[in-house]
C-alpha cells in the first residue's frame, strides 16, 4: 500500500510535480485550501456578495461551484450559477443536463443564457460561415459578453469562472508568443471591472491544475460532463498539447508558468487604455463598438451572403 505523504493513510493520488502521494481526504483538503487562498486574495467572497458562477457542466466549473457552495454555508454570499448555451448540439445540450443535475443537488437555480435567444443564432450555424475563421474564434468573445450581460441582469458583484492553472499558463504563453504585453498586464487572478460596463471576473481555481479538478469531482462524486467541444481549435490547442508534453517530462512546469504569469502581471505597468462604452450594447469596449457586437455584425453579413 502506498501511504499518504501527509497522514499515512492509503494514497489514491500521485502528484508528480512535488512527489507527494495523497489520500482522498488530504487531496480534497489541499484542493479546497488552494481555492480558499485564491478567494482570500480576491477579497470579494463575503456575506451578501452576489457572485455569478460560470457553469458549463464540465469538471472545472462543477468543482468550483461545489467548493463555493461548501464554503458558502459559513460565508453567506448569494451564488448565481449561469450556463452559457452556445448552441452546440450534441455537446452543450448534454453538458447542460449535467449542470442542471449539479445545481439541483446543491439547491441552486441554474440560469441559462443562450446565443440563440440573445443573438438569433447558435454556434452550429456560425461554423463554416467564414472560411478564414472557425467557430472557436467567435465563441470566446461572445461567451465573455454573455457572462457580463448575465452579471448585469442578475446584479452580480463578481463573476467567477473555472479557469485553472493550466489555463493561466496557456494564456500567458500565448500572449508572450504574440508579444501582447497589454493583455499580460490585465490577466491575473482578477480581470478588473469597470463600473457599469464590466463586472470584475475572478479565477478561484488558478492555483489548481486542470486534472486536479477532475480528481476532486471523482473523489467527491460531483457530476460533470466528460467530453470536449467539437469546435475546439486554434492556437490554444497547440499550446495546451505542448504544455502537457512538457509537464510529462518536467513535472511542475505548469505551476511554474502560472506563477510566473502572476508575477509578470504584478510587475507590468497597469493597462491605461481608455475604456469606451460600446455604442451598440453599452458594455465596455476598447473602441466605439465592442468586439462582440462587431463579430455579430460580421456574422449577420455572412448570413445574408450565404
Amino acid at each position: 500500500m502506498v501511504e499518504c505523504s501527509l497522514c499515512g493513510r492509503e494514497a489514491v493520488v500521485e502528484l508528480n510535480y512535488n512527489g507527494f502521494s495523497l489520500c482522498e481526504g488530504c487531496f480534497v483538503r489541499q484542493f479546497e485550501r488552494r481555492v480558499r487562498k485564491a478567494l482570500r486574495l480576491a477579497g470579494f467572497f463575503k456575506r451578501g456578495a452576489r457572485v455569478l458562477v460560470g457553469v458549463s457542466g464540465g469538471k472545472d466549473s462543477a468543482a468550483l461551484l461545489s467548493v463555493l457552495a461548501k464554503f458558502n454555508s459559513r460565508v453567506g454570499a448569494v451564488l448565481l450559477p449561469v450556463l452559457v448555451d452556445e448552441g452546440i448540439d450534441g455537446y452543450r445540450n448534454k453538458a447542460r443536463v449535467t449542470a442542471e443535475k449539479l445545481c439541483a443537488s446543491l439547491d441552486l437555480e441554474l440560469n441559462v443564457y443562450s446565443f440563440r435567444d440573445l443573438f438569433g443564432f447558435g454556434l452550429d450555424e456560425v461554423e463554416g460561415l467564414d472560411s478564414a475563421r472557425d467557430a472557436c474564434a467567435f465563441c470566446g468573445v461572445w461567451r465573455r459578453w454573455v457572462l457580463n450581460k448575465a452579471a448585469v441582469d442578475l446584479h452580480a458583484d463578481a463573476v467567477v469562472v473555472g479557469h485553472n492553472a493550466d489555463d493561466v499558463g496557456q494564456s500567458f504563453l500565448m500572449n508572450l508568443l504574440r508579444n501582447s504585453s497589454s493583455v499580460l498586464s490585465r490577466s491575473g487572478l482578477e480581470s478588473g471591472g469597470v463600473k457599469g460596463l464590466f463586472v470584475p471576473r475572478f479565477k478561484p481555481l488558478a492555483f489548481n491544475l486542470e486534472r486536479e479538478s477532475a480528481i476532486y469531482c471523482f473523489l467527491r462524486d460531483i457530476p460533470f460532463y466528460l467530453g470536449g467541444c467539437p469546435y475546439y481549435a486554434g492556437f490554444r490547442v497547440g499550446i495546451k498539447d505542448f504544455l502537457n508534453e512538457v509537464e510529462g517530462v518536467y513535472p511542475g512546469s505548469k505551476f511554474a508558468l502560472s506563477k510566473a504569469s502572476f508575477e509578470v502581471q504584478k510587475a507590468l505597468p497597469s493597462d491605461k487604455r481608455r475604456v469606451f462604452k460600446c455604442s451598440k450594447c453599452g458594455f465596455s469596449s476598447s473602441s466605439d463598438v465592442c468586439m462582440a457586437c462587431s463579430l455579430r455584425d460580421e456574422v449577420g453579413v455572412l448570413f445574408k451572403k450565404g
Binding site: 493520488v13 500521485e14 469538471k59 486534472r211 471523482f218 470536449g228 469546435y231 495546451k240 502537457n244
Partner: protein
C-alpha cells in the same frame, strides 16, 4: 493473473504478473485520471485478480 482494462464501454482481459501495479497496465499522462474498479487510484496500487483498470481522459479542449 488477469485483470480488465476498460476503455469507454469496452473491457479487455489482460494477463499480468501477480503484484502488478495499476499504473503499469495503462498508459498514463497529464490528460487523464487512473481508476481501479471505478475509483481514483494511485499508479502504484497493487492489482488483484479481476480488477478493472481504466485511464479516464479528462483533459479536452474547450
Amino acid at each position: 493473473m488477469f485483470v480488465f482494462v476498460k476503455s469507454g464501454e469496452r473491457r479487455k482481459r489482460v494477463v499480468v504478473k501477480a503484484g502488478a501495479l495499476a499504473g503499469s497496465v495503462v498508459k498514463l499522462s497529464e490528460v487523464g485520471v487512473l481508476k481501479v474498479n471505478g475509483k481514483v487510484a494511485h499508479p502504484k496500487k497493487v492489482l488483484k485478480e479481476g480488477d478493472v483498470v481504466e485511464f479516464v481522459r479528462v483533459v479536452y479542449g474547450g
